[in-house]
């Protein structure tokens, strides 16, 4: 077979892998360089559906030429012609030089960066390292504080590390994350992080006490960075306290939220007693004292899982499942919405709107939730 002979003569390193000549593996030469390729020619001797896999270096060189490669599968009359085109292209790219130099400098730089990161991690001590991503660009470091609380420092190392500093994420109050020095090395950053953590012991002790003793309604699941707590202090009244991370035992900022009437006695007590807040006593004890409370209301047992406002199967307008015995029968057809409505609720809303369209016994309008078209029959049709 002529084509195969030509291939063998000019590309001796591209070796057929089967008797049908549909699979080739080997190396294609271009100048002084050789690149690994694997060709799949499913309909040999025809070139349609031809596919190439190649080494990473060659794929970088060929980047942007995918269109050519594809066209040649149509324009070339034989595999030999195709390989010649490919070889010429590689030569041209190499001569232009840009791809190759880019390739080598990048390569070199990456290896240098990796080596640098690994040596820094070794200096830091691997027992502090919780996780390193496979491309070394995400590093998680861990420390355990005096009270046994775990703290994690997330570092994102860019391509240019160490010339550009890593991005730091940590579950600490914002201003303290900013205090972490991004300076010299991973070990120095870690040291600075541990320092910040140890300076916050009193802060977390106070907040842990608040979380233990009080019914906290916001944040839902407090994290180490949250400086505020919304606490229920009576029926219809809550306070939002903000603890100073640098001086946790002093009187926090206190805001009252709730009905004016319910707030008055607490506010009065605070006005009289705030100056007697003593940093030597416990935080909760102080808080009870200035608010004139004997104890904080406990969280009701069922708030373990905050309930949804609208439960499964309820009408999104009246929030009830059964309205005068009827279950919600109208559903929005939009899959992503799927809201349920009672016939009478939806009808009443749609006919309130001048934009809805009434025709015969139907009213056509928009779903109150997602604004997709929705129609609703007149409820009287269903009476008796």
């Amino acid at each position: 077979m002529n084509d195969q002979l030509l291939v063998l003569k000019k590309f001796p390193l591209v070796v057929p892998q089967n008797r049908d000549f549909t699979l080739y593996k080997g190396f294609i030469q271009a100048g002084s360089e050789e690149f690994y390729i694997c060709l799949h020619v499913p309909h040999y001797p025809f070139l349609n559906d031809l596919s190439i896999r190649c080494s990473w270096e060659l794929s970088v060189i060929l980047q942007g030429h995918e269109k050519n490669l594809n066209e040649w599968t149509k324009s070339c009359s034989s595999l030999f012609a195709y390989l010649e085109c490919l070889q010429n292209l590689i030569m041209k790219c190499l001569e232009a030089g840009t791809a190759a130099s880019l390739l080598h400098s990048d390569h070199h730089l990456l290896v240098k960066t990796y080596k640098h990161i690994i040596s820094e991690l070794e200096v830091l001590g691997l027992d502090h390292v919780l996780h390193v991503s496979s491309s070394l660009n995400e590093v998680k470091l861990q420390t355990v504080d005096q009270a046994g609380r775990n703290h994690i420092l997330n570092l994102s190392l860019g391509m240019n590390y160490p010339s550009s500093p890593p991005v730091i994420h940590a579950d600490l109050p914002e201003q303290l994350v900013r205090n972490i020095k991004t300076g010299s090395s991973l070990a120095a950053i870690y040291k600075s992080f541990v320092q910040q953590v140890s300076g916050l012991q009193m802060f977390w002790e106070v907040l842990d006490e608040v979380d233990r003793e009080c019914w906290v309604i916001d944040p839902d699941n407090p994290t180490r960075k949250d400086m505020y707590r919304r606490i229920v202090i009576g029926s219809n009244v809550s306070i939002q306290i903000t603890v100073d991370p640098f001086n946790a035992t002093k009187r926090p900022d206190i805001k009252f939220l709730g009905s004016e009437r319910a707030i008055i006695p607490f506010k009065k007590s605070l006005t009289e007693k705030f100056q007697f807040w003593s940093s030597d006593d416990g935080f909760i004890q102080n808080l009870k004292f200035v608010l004139g409370l004997s104890g904080f209301p406990a969280a009701p047992a069922d708030t373990g899982h905050p309930q949804d406002l609208l439960h499964q199967g309820e009408c999104a307008i009246c929030f009830m499942a059964r309205l005068e015995g009827e279950l919600p029968s109208q559903a929005c057809d939009n899959e992503k919405c799927g809201m349920l409505y009672h016939l009478s609720c939806l009808f009443e809303w749609l006919q309130t709107l001048p934009t809805s369209n009434k025709s015969f016994n139907y009213v056509h309008g928009e779903c109150p939730n997602c604004s997709m078209a929705i129609s609703c029959p007149k409820p009287s049709l269903y009476e008796n």
């Binding site: 309604i217 809550s238 009905s259 009246c318 009443e348 809303w349 709107l353 109150p368």
Partner: protein, 155 residues
């Protein structure tokens, strides 16, 4: 339609898991007038202020939007000296965008957002809107001053 059932459910929800910096409770014994407050968001001229809002629930709620009014004076392009609020969410279509699936919790969160992001293209207070557009530092100064004077809880 059972208005009080829905209202009770909404109030219970706000009490147990309120959105950050928001509260809403009945003013008296009836559920027709509510006392709400929102805490101004950090890094805005309203930061740390507690703003009282009175909410009136209309007879046809939720087919008609609640009527909300700031009790605490606010310096803001979309809130006038009487505390009236210009927000499309508070009006029925076609002029507004009220829909019966909007909840009190959502409404109050929107009001908190309105403080953060005024809409000078639909102002109630044209002078403040112009100031907001063309002399932002002055707007910020006045809004902060107003917040300190009226919205700070003095002890």
């Amino acid at each position: 339609m059972n208005k009080s059932f829905r209202l009770k459910r909404e109030l219970e929800y706000i009490t147990k898991s309120p959105p950050p910096g928001i509260s809403c409770v009945p003013k008296g014994d009836s559920l027709d007038v509510l006392d709400a407050s929102i805490v101004g968001i950090k890094d805005t001229p309203y930061e740390s202020g507690v703003f009282k809002i009175e909410i009136q629930i209309p007879e046809k709620y939720p087919f008609e939007p609640p009527c909300a009014r700031f009790i605490t004076p606010v310096y803001h392009p979309n809130i006038d000296v009487a505390g009236r609020i210009c927000l499309d969410l508070l009006r029925l279509p076609p002029k507004g965008t009220w829909r019966p699936v909007i909840t009190l919790s959502g409404l109050l969160t929107s009001l908190q957002m309105l403080l953060t992001q005024p809409n000078p293209d639909d102002p109630l207070m044209t002078e403040i809107a112009d100031e907001y557009r063309f002399n932002r530092p002055e707007y910020i100064r006045k809004a902060k001053e107003c917040t300190m004077k009226h919205a700070f809880q003095s002890i």
